[in-house]
């Protein structure tokens, strides 16, 4: 006899869970809505912790192992909390041949932070992107959501240090 399936309650009364639940319901609460649900959870909480992964899996009827598999497969999802500020360095071809390598080296030298790392004080997370599609602005970075084009390493470091 099949076990009657009940949706789990939200892990806490944090209102942001409602956003995640709504997105899942719009996808019919089916396994196909998994990636959409993870997007919603990451938008709401900034990253995906075990609690969020399990809640999404239980609601959609997806095994925890598969939720973890999907969340780690796609590079857009992050399982670690981000720093206060983020700096995404584009490493697309156009940026690469216009000096993205020097930007990464410069940030490492000045702020001791490598891609996918957060500074020791938790202020800044550095990420790389495959291509921002802002090739005409190469080399490009995104600082807290603002795209900056034709980046000069010194100016960028100064700006990040000032934050």
């Amino acid at each position: 006899m099949p076990i009657p399936y009940t949706k789990p309650p939200a892990p806490s009364d944090d209102k942001r869970w409602k956003i995640v639940q709504t997105r899942m319901r719009r996808g019919g609460d089916r396994p196909a809505a998994l990636i959409e649900a993870l997007h919603a959870a990451q938008e709401a909480f900034g990253y995906l912790d075990t609690e969020a992964l399990n809640f999404v899996g239980d609601t959609l009827g997806v095994p925890h192992s598969r939720v973890y598999g999907v969340a780690t497969f796609y590079s857009f999802f992050t399982l670690k909390p981000q720093g206060e500020h983020t700096c995404v360095v584009c490493t697309g071809t156009a940026c690469y041949i216009n000096g993205a390598k020097d930007i990464l080296a410069g940030l490492d030298r000045a702020l001791h932070v490598k891609p996918k790392e957060t500074t020791a004080d938790g202020k800044l997370s550095m990420l790389t992107a495959r291509c921002l599609g802002a090739c005409s602005l190469a080399p490009a970075v995104i600082v807290d959501g603002d795209v900056k084009g034709k980046v000069n390493v010194g100016e960028l470091v100064a700006q990040l240090e000032a934050m």
């Binding site: 999907v70 497969f73 590079s75 041949i97 216009n98 599609g133 090739c135 084009g149």
Partner: protein, 548 residues
């Protein structure tokens, strides 16, 4: 709520100040590249300044990509074709003055070779319409094709017209679109799907993003026509999460089209039903491969599976599924409006029509261009692209992304088509053209692409998962000046094995950058190995004394 406290709706700025046709209009480019340079502030400031100057008969309109991203943010005076580049929000007086001067007798002047040498089909509305305004789209012939298809044509005649136009898949491989549509239409099954592949993962390519940001209704119209031709009722647009502006505009377009009856049940007062949903990618390059894309739409890890069965027979949820690229769908409405013969007359040999290219790298006019197939690389790079930055010598142009190759200077006069690029050991790909000058080391470029493939390999098949890493390590040895001729032989042997045994296009194409750089720039490899120098001065070579 008092009027002043209400949030300003973005629509306000695009509306005419009065109801009469405007005497002059300024088009402000609000695509991603210009947006990141405060283009939206320019639109707002321009509106304010025009009002202060007492101009009541002008229109300030935000439009999609004007193409010449290098000079952004861009503003165009539509009546005269006058173009303002590098505009600053605080400095719009020149544009206001130009708006004052426009006379009703003015005609559009040529805007220079960057614009005049192009032929716009898929991008015909780019920079002309407000991407979030359905009326603007309809005014420029939008939805004429869909209405004609639904009222006068059968699914067979639609497929026949697409076949006769000679349109081929613009995602890169160039599979004949008409044939694909016919396969899906004839496949068994009551439920069929149409998917638009907007997972533009090639680094250095931004055609799909610009089309989605500038003319989203065109994609929806193209998809609806395709759905009618293959008997599908549901569609998905699979778009990268890295393109927030494109996703937002597409969402708006879907909502507006649904409201106006161009999507949903009973489209344009007929019995045809079709609706579209957006699915966001999550940063996996391999999801551009169609079987991986389907897995991702189904909410699973984006790993490809062996074909056949092809998605046209067994795709999304095992139903027949049509997958085409953004640019392919964008070409469809124009082809049906102007006729397949018109389209088939453009182009070269088996490569019909036009192709959108994203010019990037060490080139003066970076931006988006659409040219007829068969134009030479020299015309694209020098006449349209304006040549190399700082007048440096041209070294190579990279096409086709990580599965493509580098074409050296001696083939600049070769006409561009699917066939000619393959002949040269490259690949059309989605259309990124990255120009390199003598400051780029070709071994380093090959290593860069190998690093990309290694990182993006989904890990399902061994040749790709293990092989790309091995290739990368060999290339790394070469760039550090620690390789021997045996390593080079090993590199070539391994590359052939991977090309022949990998499961999907990512793995099979991964060795292509190595093949093409070895073919045309073998001396650079030898310089690294034998002489232990990097001719371009990019690689840090371990000095020979240390090695000994």
């Amino acid at each position: 709520m008092p009027a002043a406290a209400r949030p300003i709706r973005r629509r306000v700025i695009t509306e005419e100040i009065n109801d009469e046709a405007p005497r002059a209009s300024a088009y402000v480019c609000e695509a991603a590249s210009c947006m990141s340079a405060q283009a939206h502030d320019i639109t707002l400031r321009l509106g304010e300044r025009a009002a202060e100057a007492g101009l009541t008969d002008v229109m300030i309109k935000r439009v999609g990509c004007l193409g010449l991203c290098a000079a952004g943010p861009l503003v165009e005076i539509a009546e005269t074709g006058q173009l303002f580049g590098h505009v600053k929000p605080d400095d719009v007086e020149g544009i206001v003055k130009a708006l004052k001067k426009v006379k009703p007798t003015d005609t559009r002047q040529p805007q220079g070779p960057f614009f005049e040498k192009q032929l716009r089909v898929a991008t015909e509305n780019m920079g002309r319409i407000d991407p979030e305004n359905l009326d603007d789209y309809i005014e420029r012939g939008g939805y004429e094709a869909l209405k004609r298809v639904l009222s006068e044509m059968t699914s067979t005649t639609v497929r026949d017209e697409i076949t006769r136009s000679g349109l081929r898949g613009r995602g890169g491989a160039g599979f004949p679109t008409g044939l694909k549509w016919t396969t899906v239409a004839k496949a068994q099954g009551t439920q069929k799907y149409v998917i638009c592949n907007a997972d533009e993962g090639d680094p250095g390519a931004f055609m799909d993003r610009s089309v989605l940001e500038s003319d989203p209704f065109r994609i929806l119209e193209g998809m609806a026509i395709a759905a009618f031709a293959v008997h599908a009722t549901e569609g998905y647009v699979y778009c990268r999460a890295e393109y927030p502006l494109a996703v937002a505009r597409l969402r708006t377009a879907i909502r507006l089209a649904q409201r106006a009856g161009y999507l949903g049940a009973g489209i344009a007062d007929t019995s045809f039903n079709f609706d579209v949903q957006i699915r966001l990618g999550a940063g996996a390059f391999v999801c551009g491969e169609e079987t991986a894309l389907i897995a991702s739409v189904e909410g699973r890890r984006g790993t490809p599976r062996p074909r056949p069965p092809y998605p046209a027979v067994q795709g999304l949820w095992d139903c027949p599924t049509l997958i085409n690229n953004v640019e392919t769908f964008a070409s469809v409405p124009t082809i049906l409006r102007k006729g397949p013969e018109w389209y088939a007359a453009i182009g070269l040999g088996k490569s019909k029509g036009t192709k959108v290219f994203a010019l990037a790298g060490r080139i003066v006019n970076t931006g988006l261009v659409e040219v007829p197939m068969g134009m030479t690389l020299r015309e694209i790079v020098y006449d349209i692209g304006g040549g190399i930055v700082d007048g440096r010598p041209f070294k190579a142009v990279q096409t086709g992304g990580p599965s493509g190759g580098c074409i050296p200077a001696e083939f600049l006069d070769m006409p561009v088509s699917y066939e000619s690029l393959i002949e040269l050991g490259s690949f059309m790909g989605s259309g990124g053209l990255i120009v390199m000058d003598d400051t780029s080391c070709m071994v380093d470029v090959a290593k860069y692409f190998q690093d990309f493939c290694r990182d993006e390999s989904c890990g399902k098949c061994v040749p790709c998962r293990v092989g790309t890493t091995q290739l990368y390590m060999l290339l790394d040895l070469i760039t550090r000046g620690e390789a021997t001729m045996d390593d080079l032989a090993q590199l070539e042997r391994l590359a052939v094995i991977i090309q022949k045994t990998a499961l999907c296009g990512l793995g099979q194409g991964a060795p292509n950058p190595i093949f093409s750089t070895l073919r045309y720039f073998r001396d650079e490899y030898l310089a690294h190995i034998v002489d232990r120098v990097c001719p371009a001065g990019v690689c840090t070579i371990t000095p020979a004394e240390v090695m000994a």
